[in-house]
Amino acid sequence: APVHTDTGAMMYLSNFGWLDPSSKKIGSQSLIDIRKSIQDFQAFAGLNITGELDEETVETMSLPRCGVRDKIG
């Protein structure tokens, strides 16, 4: 799913280790968790830490990159 959609962004965060792995699927993540995951990713990528899927964050998620997870559990 394209990252500019919520589902796409959740997939991205999940693929690269930013969502709590204990959650079985994206839908079960509470809003607070997701907000926290977005903040963690924004801090890692050097973005403004808003907790929102703002334009800059979605743009960064669209960049070509390495497939290895950012956060190794």
């Binding site: 690269f16 963690d40 830490i49 960049l63 070509p64 990159r65 390495c66 497939g67 290895v68 190794i72």
Partner: protein
């Protein structure tokens, strides 16, 4: 990665217990015919050399058999449960040492070598091999181990964050102290050389044996990527501060497609293009790609310059282009009309003890101009317009000072 923590590298937690690692390209990219198999090999060699330059790790490429790190170009689902996603998005992934260390590249990408177009193979490979060695992603945006692709960089060098990371796993490089560098006497402290990602130790006998036995070269130049290349017969040597870059010499026709063997001279101009001369023609390259409509006749672009030159270089003293042949030299100034002023050629004896019939000449990254003939070289002092005085004096043996003999 804790948001409040200072930005820096991250380790996955495993590393290799051996220092001499082997690798093999088990599956080449679909574009291998376009790129050239040997150029893909050279690009992967250089990606490993990045890490060899900062540690005592060594990397040896094998074409068959079991190796530590296997490299494959695959697309979509390729058997490891981590499918690629077509062009763009994920470019490659690699496994940490505890999981085998292999590296996979998405073969739907347009992999390219030494050009700004497409996806630069060296840059992505050097990153993935960081994972193969135990590095995780860094949140230092400019480091090699940051997860986002940053495009071709002809002047690539490891970020200090990457160096600290890899040395925290495998220690600092402890190879024997390099021979006295060829940089000038303390009177003029040497320029800070760019961190050559290569092994900076003198090369193993293999790479430089030919040059040690017969140090005469055809031409030498520092190209726009900041690296210095010596040309001899059908081969090209990439030089480090103390010897031959790991994995060289390579065939000229592979690295510089379209360029003939046994060239006469070469220089790199302020437009970042490199000009090669042979007989009555010259070739122009951007990095290692020949520009369209070349070769040309020397008279078409370098009017007033003879054919079959001995060497050509940009003099550090005035930034003009000089051509040497036999016992004469010509000064070529593209900004003047005519570019070769009246009164040229002049006798080489004007250059105070620089010999006639030179092999090569170069303005090196330390700002000095060097002249090469047979197994000797001279360093020129631009200010005094004479051969530099130093201990030991010039001429010096080129093999031990330039080729790591």
């Amino acid at each position: 990665h804790d948001a409040r923590r200072r930005k820096r590298y991250a380790l996955q937690g495993s590393r290799w217990k051996v220092k001499n690692l082997t690798y093999r390209i088990a599956k080449y990219p679909r574009l291998v015919e376009v790129l050239g198999r040997d150029r893909v090999d050279a690009e992967i060699d250089e990606a490993f050399a990045v890490w060899q330059g900062a540690t005592d790790l060594t990397f040896t490429r094998k074409s068959t058999g079991k190796v530590h790190i296997e490299i494959r170009f695959e697309n979509r689902e390729h058997g490891d449960g981590d499918p690629f996603d077509g062009e763009g998005g994920t470019l490659a992934h690699a496994y940490f040492p505890v999981y085998g260390g292999d590296a996979h590249f998405d073969d739907d990408e347009k992999w390219t070598i030494k050009t700004y177009r497409g996806t630069n193979l060296f840059q992505v490979a050097a990153h993935e091999f960081g994972h193969s060695l135990g590095l995780s992603h860094s949140d230092v945006r400019d480091s090699l181990m940051a997860p986002f692709y940053r495009g071709y960089n002809p002047k690539f060098k490891l970020h200090s964050d990457d160096v600290i990371a890899i040395q925290s796993l495998y220690g600092k490089k402890t190879t024997p102290p390099p021979p006295p560098p060829r940089t000038p006497s303390p009177a003029r402290p040497p320029n800070k050389f760019p961190i050559t990602p290569a092994a900076t130790s003198p090369s193993s006998g293999k790479e430089n044996s030919k040059l040690c036995n017969d140090p005469k070269i055809d031409a030498i130049t520092t190209m726009s990527d900041g690296n210095t290349y010596a040309f001899k017969g059908s081969e090209v040597y990439r030089l480090t501060d103390n010897g031959i870059f790991f994995g060289y010499p390579k065939k000229i026709f592979i690295l510089f497609p379209g360029l003939p063997n046994d060239i006469d001279g070469a220089f790199t101009w302020s437009n970042d293009k490199t000009y090669f001369f042979k007989g009555s023609h010259y070739w122009r390259y951007t990095n290692m790609t020949m520009d369209a409509s070349y070769p040309k006749s020397i008279s078409d672009g370098f009017s007033g310059i003879p054919t079959n030159i001995d060497t050509a270089f940009v003099w550090g003293g005035n930034g003009k282009i000089y051509f040497f042949k036999g016992d004469q030299y010509w000064r070529f100034d593209p900004a003047r009309t005519p570019p070769v002023s009246f009164g040229y050629p002049k006798p080489i004896s004007n250059w105070n003890d620089i010999p006639n019939n030179l092999d090569a000449a170069l303005k090196y990254s330390n700002g000095y101009t060097y002249f090469f003939k047979g197994n000797k070289y001279w360093r020129f002092n631009d200010r005094s317009f004479s051969i530099d005085t130093a201990d030991p004096p010039f001429p010096r043996a080129v093999g031990s000072w330039w080729y790591g003999c």
